[in-house]
């Protein structure tokens, strides 16, 4: 039996700029103009100071692996062909910002906590590129 198609992100309208940029391989996040804190995932108001004045800014794409796992069995149907694959929570260089991603570009057993990584975009379909991370080049 073929695996079902990969799930695509169900995009909230206020997050559309993130996915539009990702399709062009640009990595952007929000920043609050009032308290200056970085925001991810995108919000309709700053989750720190509740200001409405939030803007999109480029992010460095540099991060560290906060935690990770290598999925070896019992994956969701659409991901069975990908096993083993790495799921990780990364902490972006822009402080206070975490995201879930996959670590690519190395063997799964080479991933470690606190390892430096950098963003790379992987094509999901014509509409989406997903931000994934690979070991940092330097």
């Amino acid at each position: 039996m073929d695996a079902p198609k990969k799930p695509v992100p169900v995009v909230n309208p206020w997050a559309k700029p993130f996915w539009d940029a990702a399709r062009e391989e640009r990595f952007i996040i929000q920043q609050c103009k009032d308290c200056k804190k970085y925001i991810f995932y995108p919000r309709i108001a700053c989750p720190h100071c509740f200001s409405d004045d939030v803007q999109w800014v480029p992010a460095s794409g540099r991060a560290t692996v906060y935690t990770y796992t290598v999925v070896e069995s019992n994956a969701p149907s659409a991901f069975i062909p990908d096993m083993p694959y790495v799921i990780a929570v990364v902490r972006l260089e822009e402080g206070g910002v975490q995201m879930l991603t996959n670590i690519v570009g190395c063997k799964p057993e080479e991933v470690r906590c606190d390892m430096p990584v950098e963003v790379v975009f992987e094509t999901l379909n014509d509409d989406f590129k997903l931000p994934k991370f690979r070991p940092a080049s330097t």
């Binding site: 995009v11 935690t67 796992t69 799921i87 879930l100």
Partner: protein
């Protein structure tokens, strides 16, 4: 701090065995459990004026029946003012107990029936269960597209915890062994054969470092309890199980937004509950800590203050949490051994807490148990919930 300390009590409990029952309708698990709770308390069924069914995940159609008063009609309850679903995923029972306490203390309700039933063991396939839990409570925008699911969530917390504390696979496995020791004595548990550390450590790797026997399995089951005022409770039963303290801390929706995936909000929630009760972990005769996987039982145990961070694994390994041990922990066997029934995991744990305090736990009865702490958490470990219960009001 709430004003609920000692104001309400659990007076009756019911539970059907956890397992695979393909020929049993889901509603049976609800009404059989509720009937047992009513008989256990010895009340007239028509004293119940408020019914709180929690949600069943395996079937939206069945859940709609729970919402639309089927339990009330099946049991022939004649004086029910409201049938209102209370659902917070895995923390439903704890959240419902506090809501029930508030309603009773305010005079809006007098006798509340909380009930759960689920058929996740036979109502969905094994892969269907994995797929259900790769979307339920997981962000469709920020996590589902990366292959997130509950084994991975657990593995991510376990990995970071082990990295920060130096704890080992053996420590994680020790939780499974401890829970199984209790389940061997629990007729309602699904897994009752002795389990060794070696068996756990030799089981299939799911998501590193999480292995198959460190993972719960989904089953059918049901449980129920009755809550009333402390005054009424004393008229009805010999040993009311009083709510003495409660605390909670909602920390995230999207798992990757949790700032500390190896602690969560347990310390804050525990402090709130213990302060309200005027008790400390040292006063507890039993720690009914929500498991679902070993890491969450270890984190809960430590963050509540039963030991320092990084020490729980050794305590489980030494058998201090086993039957006859210094601090009995998760005495029904938890979801790892009794089995996972969705929102029912912590309903079973709440019922077990009351059962132990009532002195009705049979072979696994903790002698002279007066005070116990019970924890619950829903979603991707989004809301640390803590209740302190006891047969005395300190």
């Amino acid at each position: 701090m709430s004003k609920l300390k000692g104001k309400v009590a659990i007076i009756g409990i019911g539970e059907v065995p956890t397992g695979r029952f393909p020929d049993t309708a889901a509603i049976y698990h609800a009404i059989a459990s509720a009937k047992m709770a009513i008989r256990d308390a010895g009340i007239n069924k028509d004293e119940i004026d408020y019914v709180m069914p929690t949600a069943a995940l395996y079937s939206p159609a069945f859940n709609t029946e729970l919402v639309t008063c089927r339990v009330v009609e099946e049991l022939g309850l004649k004086n029910v003012k409201k049938n209102c679903q209370v659902f917070a995923g895995g923390s439903s029972s704890t959240c419902a107990l506090e809501l029930a306490a508030g309603l009773i203390y305010s005079g809006a309700a007098s006798m509340i029936l909380f009930v759960h039933a689920e058929r996740l063991g036979t109502g969905v396939t094994a892969q269907g269960g994995i797929d259900l839990f790769s979307t339920a409570g997981i962000s469709a925008e920020w996590e589902v597209p990366f292959g997130q699911h509950y084994s991975a969530v657990t593995a991510l917390s376990t990995m970071r915890y082990m990295y920060e504390t130096g704890c080992t696979d053996e420590h994680m496995a020790a939780v499974c062994v401890s829970n199984r020791k209790w389940a061997e004595l629990n007729p309602n548990a699904f897994f009752r054969k002795p389990l060794s550390l070696q068996e756990v450590l030799a089981s299939k790797m799911l998501s590193t470092p999480l292995r198959a026997k460190q993972s719960n399995m989904l089953f059918d089951g049901g449980a129920a309890f009755l809550v009333t005022s402390a005054e009424r409770a004393r008229e009805i039963v010999e040993k009311p199980v009083y709510l003495l303290g409660e605390g909670g801390s909602v920390t995230h929706f999207v798992y990757s937004q949790e700032p500390d995936v190896s602690r969560f909000g347990w310390a804050k929630a525990g402090k709130m509950a213990f302060e309200e009760a005027g008790l400390t972990p040292a006063d507890m005769d039993i720690a009914e800590i929500y498991d679902s996987y070993p890491i969450f039982q270890i984190i809960g145990f430590e963050e509540l203050g039963f030991c320092k961070r990084g020490e729980a694994g050794e305590i489980f390994l030494r058998g201090e949490t086993w039957p006859g041990g210094r601090i009995p922990c998760t005495t029904n066997g938890g979801m790892l051994s009794q089995g996972h029934t969705g929102a029912g995991g912590a309903v079973a744990l709440m019922v077990e807490t009351a059962r132990q305090l009532m002195g009705k736990a049979g072979e696994r009865q903790v002698p002279k148990a007066r005070f116990a702490v019970e924890t619950a958490v829903g979603g991707t470990y989004m809301d640390a919930q803590v209740s302190i219960l006891g047969t005395e009001i300190p």
